[in-house]
Amino acid sequence: MSVDHATVRKIASLARIAVTDDQVEAMVPELNNILGWIEQLGEVDTSAVQPMTAVIPNVLRLRDDVVTDGDVRDAVLKNAPQAEQGFFTVPKVIE
């Protein structure tokens, strides 16, 4: 597997990361290098091995259905670039 210039630009755009042409130029070989390394793992036969989902034998803990949080509007809005009347506000997004 390898990526080309267009794929790098697309991934950057999906992740909302601005990249310059120079950066794309540098990133293509860099990412392909990483992908090449990872691909070597495919050489190991894992057909008889269960996929590992966690490194420690632990189960997902569930919590009881109790309201223990919320009602902290000031804290929630504290870092908002702009808030009005208890709402976050953002540039108008309308489909």
């Binding site: 697309k10 755009s13 999906l14 909302r16 989902t53 966690a54 632990n58 189960v59 997902l60 803990r61 569930l62 919590r63 009881d64 259905d65 109790v66 309201v67 223990t68 949080d69 919320g70 009602d71 902290v72 509007r73 804290a75 929630v76 809005l77 702009q82 009005e84 009347q85 208890g86 709402f87 976050f88 506000t89 953002v90 540039p91 108008k92 997004v93 309308i94 489909e95």
Partner: protein
């Protein structure tokens, strides 16, 4: 198979429909945080730092949400996956602070199941039909955007952010708007019986994404479109109707259907394309590293199974087979869980099933309709209703007197017995009194008497009516009949 077809200019087209229903799980707190999940609070007051996606916050699943999704799966006879996992669905939107929705793409909690829609000849559903459910997975809801509060800004309320949803994905097994409507109603009934979702479509607790395609009879499936977030049964049916006709028009004009997301406009009943972005469906799903796989024990699943109530289809069958109620009455009485509960409370108070079912269907529903009330707010309680029915059975009240008493019960909230005593509405079987009235009626209507005796027997009803009227409806009709026959001899 439904007989529903779109008549194009070049021939007939079949419609193929699949529904993805988002149902809000009934729970006190959210799927991954301890903030309240209730509807209608002040903006951003039911938001924890987890829901606002502050750095370093870790999600912990709510056991009740998992339990309700499993119970829902069991209610539609679905496979319950003892091992499932949460994935991140990545996209950017102002109502999604995390930048991803935690959902289940690869290993959903609930697998293949099904439900049955009932025959409804008037709606063109000729026989009962099984509709497949492909899967149910659990996921987070997003926040809410408001666009009408400010000229250049959108307002964001995160109260809904992180509330648990079940996404219930049907097989493309429906072939008419009526079948889709019946499926939604049946699904809603099951959710409400189970208690896993309140099914309130106006408040957005249940909404549907509608997948529609058309094809010539016998051909392969056509390209589908998905109309998002339709929030009533009627709108879903309208959206299908419009979308199917639009697709036929496009195809017959030589065009092609584009696989796309569309929006429904409830004011016009039409759909329109959402600004289609090529990347929009590139969600780059991957397992959420904050959450271990969800493993269910047999004991947990069995506890879920044991907690299920009798479901609508089983209840309806029991009403018909064991209680002897007509199929139509049984269908209506079991369609909504509140109706069934009220009816069963009435039976528990000692009412006889058939009599009670007829009374609920005609008298109670008529009154509730007139008053604009739902059965939960009925001014007459099941125990008061049972007393009224008992007074009819033991002959204290005739049918018409019972109607009068019921009206007074609705007005005053008093019990039937109290009203009968206070207003003297008891039916009389006093033969002496009835005979006296009959003699009077015959004396006052010599013409009719003459005609009756010369063979016009249809006038018998006239004499019954006159007698009852003279006794203000309180005479026992059976006794009146008997005595009249004797008097007219």
């Amino acid at each position: 198979m439904s007989s529903y077809r779109i008549q194009g200019t070049t021939g007939e087209w079949e419609v193929v429909i699949g529904l993805e229903v988002h149902a809000q799980v009934t729970s006190k707190s959210k799927l991954f945080s301890g903030a309240a999940a209730s509807f209608g609070a002040e903006p951003n007051t039911q938001v924890s730092l987890i829901d606002a996606a502050m750095p370093g916050m870790l999600p912990v699943p709510n056991a009740e949400c998992i339990r309700q999704a499993v119970r829902t799966g069991l209610a539609i006879d679905a496979q319950i996956n003892r091992w499932s996992r949460f994935d991140r669905k990545n996209y950017f939107y102002a109502d999604l602070p995390q930048g991803y929705q935690i959902s289940q793409l690869y290993h959903p909690l609930v697998g293949e199941g099904h439900l049955e829609i009932d025959a409804d000849e008037k709606a063109g559903i000729l026989e009962a039909k099984r509709i497949g459910v492909e899967r149910i997975h659990v996921e987070q809801d997003a926040g809410k955007l408001m666009h009408d509060q400010h000229p250049t800004r959108s307002y964001v309320d995160l109260n809904r952010s992180g509330v648990a949803l079940m996404e219930i994905v049907s097989r493309p097994d429906m072939t008419s708007p009526a079948e889709a409507g019946a499926y939604l109603r049946k699904l809603r009934a099951i959710l409400r019986y189970v208690g896993s979702c309140d099914g309130n479509m106006e408040e957005g607790s249940m909404r549907a994404d509608v997948n529609v395609s058309v094809r010539r009879a016998g051909e392969e499936l056509g390209t589908r479109t998905e109309t998002k977030n339709v929030n009533s049964v009627r709108f879903v049916m309208q959206a299908i109707e419009h979308e199917a006709n639009r697709q036929v028009d496009v195809l017959e004009a030589g065009g092609k259907i584009v696989q796309e997301t569309r929006l429904f406009n409830p004011d016009t009943g039409t759909t329109r394309s959402m600004r289609s972005k090529e990347d929009a469906h590139d969600y780059r799903y991957f397992p959420d590293p904050d959450l271990l796989p969800l493993e269910l024990t047999e004991a947990f699943v069995e506890e879920c199974r044991a907690s299920l109530p009798e479901l609508p289809d089983a209840k309806r069958a029991r009403y018909v087979e064991t209680l002897g109620i007509s199929a139509y009455n049984a269908a209506v009485l079991t369609a909504e869980v509140e109706t069934a509960r009220w009816f069963e409370a009435l039976l528990n108070e000692g009412a006889e099933a058939k009599q009670a079912s007829n009374w609920v269907m005609s008298e109670l529903f008529g009154a509730l309709n007139r008053l604009g009330k739902s059965i939960e707010d009925s001014p007459v309680s099941p125990s008061n209703a049972a007393e009224l029915l008992k007074l009819v059975t033991d002959g204290t009240l005739s049918g018409s007197l019972a109607k009068q008493v019921f009206e007074k019960m609705l007005e005053t909230g008093d019990s039937a017995g109290t009203i009968v005593e206070r207003d003297g509405l008891k039916q009389t079987s006093d033969t002496g009194a009835i005979e006296a009235v009959i003699a009077d009626v015959l004396a006052k209507n010599p013409g009719q008497l003459e005609q009756y005796r010369s063979g016009k027997e249809a006038l018998f009803g006239f004499f019954v009516g006159q007698t009852m009227k003279a006794m203000a409806g309180k005479a026992n009709p059976a006794v009146v009949n008997e005595l009249l026959k004797k008097a007219l001899g």
